[in-house]
Symmetry: C2
Subunit: 465 residues, 2 copies
């Protein structure tokens, strides 16, 4: 039923219907909070109402939400946030001096000394300075400028903003964006919303989900037939696949981006979540600069970080930042204008980010507790990664790559033909069918591999540690 | 220079340039944080560096940012936020019992009892329940369902999301959105970004910026020639114009929306900021329901509120909500899916909103202080409104309507022909030229009327109280 038809009839229907709404929004899919999670919430309500099930609670392993899974907040972070929220506490003796010092510094940089004031749209200046210094330390002294830092409402916000800047053209000139398969579905959702063309490149499951430049090239050449590829998105450490890219691989990717004239987007929100021996996080920026001025002065890049993962797991605060490199100054002015329309990222999230990039130092009173808590969280995540991998690999029909980093396992499942047929009968993708059965029978909520993308004929699920 | 040209040359330019970026983003304008504010920030830096100016500090009256203007946060709100941030404080005797009770309730509704967990994408359920009950109290018992409440990252976020759902079609079928002139520039910015058609209707400055349905009809009929008008946006109390709509006017608007098959968007973020005698805030929802089932069961509407204005002024927390009425259930499912991609609004902002809709009650220990602080803030805002209006009307060349509500004055200025000519010489809009001079010479930062829109040949500025 077309909109005209709706408008034409004498007893008119609704203004806004499935037929007359934004078609791009209809194409958006986001499995991490999709039908399976909605069913899980329903089951939780049924359990509360006394409905009998083969289990007493739903285990939600669908989303990387550390605190919801029982991880405790880091004391220092929360002390400073409480001080910023209610500065009368600065007079109290219960808080350590370094927490008070951080809170005072943040408050002094806020309008009217209140985190209730709007900040600059790009983020509070002294926090952007701290972020820049953090990046410099991380990357062995490669310079970072606060002018290139944009604080954001979680990493998702910055990723979508960056994609929005990049999308243009119609038909065969429409912007194409390369994303990995499997991918984190924010990317496919944002591309659908923006009406951009998704270019899928496959990670190699047989080689521990590694990325191969030959596959990038195959995907790019195929895409050139129907769109204008301009952007290459990388998630490292990988979500949902948990691989950690080698330095060599990153170098190859950067070389490819330069050769093919692509804008690089490096999603590095799991940069502190690296567990496997012999694996190390290398930032794209560091590798870029180590490749010399031919690369470091030309390749355009944005890199993303967040307060939601790593040892903090403070998802609810929606803190994050991006660093832009080699961005055209006129485009940067447009970016600054664009983010100003939403006024500013949440200031408590900005304050939290400041603590993450400027944690207690060895000579400060909170250092020992902070390090103890941080180490314990990261050790627990590493142990869970090891345990999950080990356990899955003992289960017939499940095979699982080593989990090198991030917070997920993405095992492959072999489904019996009977199950595949049954799923088809019910009009469901087989791995969705599998996950739905697991939820109904065992109370375990996972996201099927089809929500992230996978090679045709293979089935997976994502489990959060 | 086309993108092809950039790509074609042997020494390639940047991937992302002004010529090859999203053209919709280039069309976005947001004067509230535009060039004049950027210059103000520069001047502040110059003052810090010791540059001599005819003033010692910049007075920023460009944005409704109460705390930055010296307004103190409400004690109760901040106590609960501190308790939520650092629940160890629940053991402390310094906090009143009602603050602790609120904090416990919020924490219990959070995953892992932490505001660091993601919430449901629509917002925490018990907070949506509190919002629904608040709306019912406000509207004299007209029912409100938590299922129709969507918490948001400030009102801006919800407004943009709602517009995004509504935009579709190409060419003459492209969605048209009616907005007032003068308007709050979030609307024009969002429409540019979404590639929707802006339909301007003018408020009547001679009748205290009131809205006339005949003018709505004129604008609508003119627009029907080139687009598909589907949405009518109203800001009440008005921003930047400060008028408060009469009950009769709201009824006329609702009747018009029904007749013309328009989706209503009611921006009611200043609902507690009503000062003028004889003026009262009427919510669009209440009037809609009082008009009987012919209206209350058909007219589709979304209404927006925020924690940034009223007596709270907590802009930095980015809290807000929208209530949708008569929305097609299939569209609502799409809306829920769309907001899930960004995971959730900031949880501290959600907590803050909960306190705003569920404030201390007369039998609770924080009530007296809360009411005293709230009354003092609102009285100060009313006094500033009165004073500004009075003062402006004594200045030759400035005329100013009574400020009935909101937080702004939008006086009209008569510019001497010499100033207009000079502005044209410098390639500036005359009121931008005026505001720039005022900033350079007096250190006062205002937003020119051209940033909000005004009738051709008239000039204004917006001043924040």
């Amino acid at each position: 039923m077309s909109q005209q038809a709706v408008n034409g009839v004498s007893h008119r229907g609704k203004v806004l219907t499935l037929d007359s709404m934004n078609p791009n929004v209809k194409r958006v899919e986001y499995a991490v909070r999709g039908p399976i999670v909605q069913r899980a919430v329903q089951i939780e309500k049924e359990l509360k109402e006394g409905v009998k099930k083969p289990f007493t609670e739903v285990i939600k392993a669908n989303i990387g939400d550390a605190h919801a899974m029982g991880q405790k907040p880091i004391t220092f972070l929360r002390q400073v946030l409480a001080l910023c929220s209610y500065p009368e506490l600065l007079e109290d003796n219960m808080f350590p001096e370094d927490a008070k010092k951080r809170a005072r510094r943040i408050l002094e940089s806020c309008g009217g000394h209140s985190i209730g004031a709007y900040s600059a749209s790009q983020g509070i200046e002294c926090i952007r300075q701290d972020v820049a210094r953090y990046i410099e330390r991380r990357d062995g002294g490669i310079p970072s400028s606060p002018d290139n830092i944009y604080l954001s409402t979680g990493a998702s916000d910055a990723i979508v903003t960056m994609l929005k800047l990049l999308v243009c053209g119609e038909g065969r000139s429409r912007t194409g964006v390369m994303i990995s398969i499997p991918q984190y579905p924010l990317y496919s959702a944002a591309l659908a919303d923006l009406g951009a063309v998704q270019i899928s490149y496959y990670l190699d499951e047989d080689k521990c989900w590694s990325l191969d430049v030959a596959e990038l090239r195959r995907a790019l050449n195929a895409a050139r037939q129907h769109c204008n590829p301009r952007v290459l998105c990388i998630i490292n450490p990988g979500n949902p696949t948990g691989q950690v890219q080698s330095r060599q691989c990153i170098e190859d990717v950067i070389r490819f981006a330069k050769e093919e004239h692509l804008f690089l987007m490096a999603d590095e929100v799991y940069q502190d979540n690296v567990y496997a021996e012999g694996c190390k996080f290398h930032s794209f920026k560091k590798v870029l600069f180590e490749m010399g001025p031919e690369y470091s002065s030309t390749v355009e890049m944005a890199s993303f970080h967040s307060t939601s993962k790593c040892y903090m797991g403070e998802c609810g605060f929606r803190g994050g930042y991006m660093e832009v490199i080699n961005m055209d100054p006129e485009v940067k002015a447009q970016l600054t204008k664009l983010v100003s329309v939403r006024l500013c990222p949440p200031v408590p999230g900005q304050a939290l980010l400041d603590l993450v990039v400027n944690p207690p130092q060895p000579d400060e009173p909170s250092y020992t507790t902070f390090m103890k808590e941080r180490t314990a969280v990261l050790a627990a995540l590493a142990e869970k990664a090891r345990l999950t991998e080990e356990t899955f690999n003992t289960v017939p029909g499940i095979t699982c790559n080593p989990v090198q980093g991030a917070m997920y396992t993405f095992p492959r499942i072999t489904l019996p033909q009977k199950a595949i047929d049954k799923a088809k009968e019910e009009g469901q993708v087989p791995d969705m069918y599998y996950c739905m059965r697991l939820l109904e029978e065992e109370g375990i909520c996972l996201v099927p591999g089809s929500g992230f993308g996978q090679r045709e004929g293979t089935f997976h699920f994502r489990l959060v540690h």
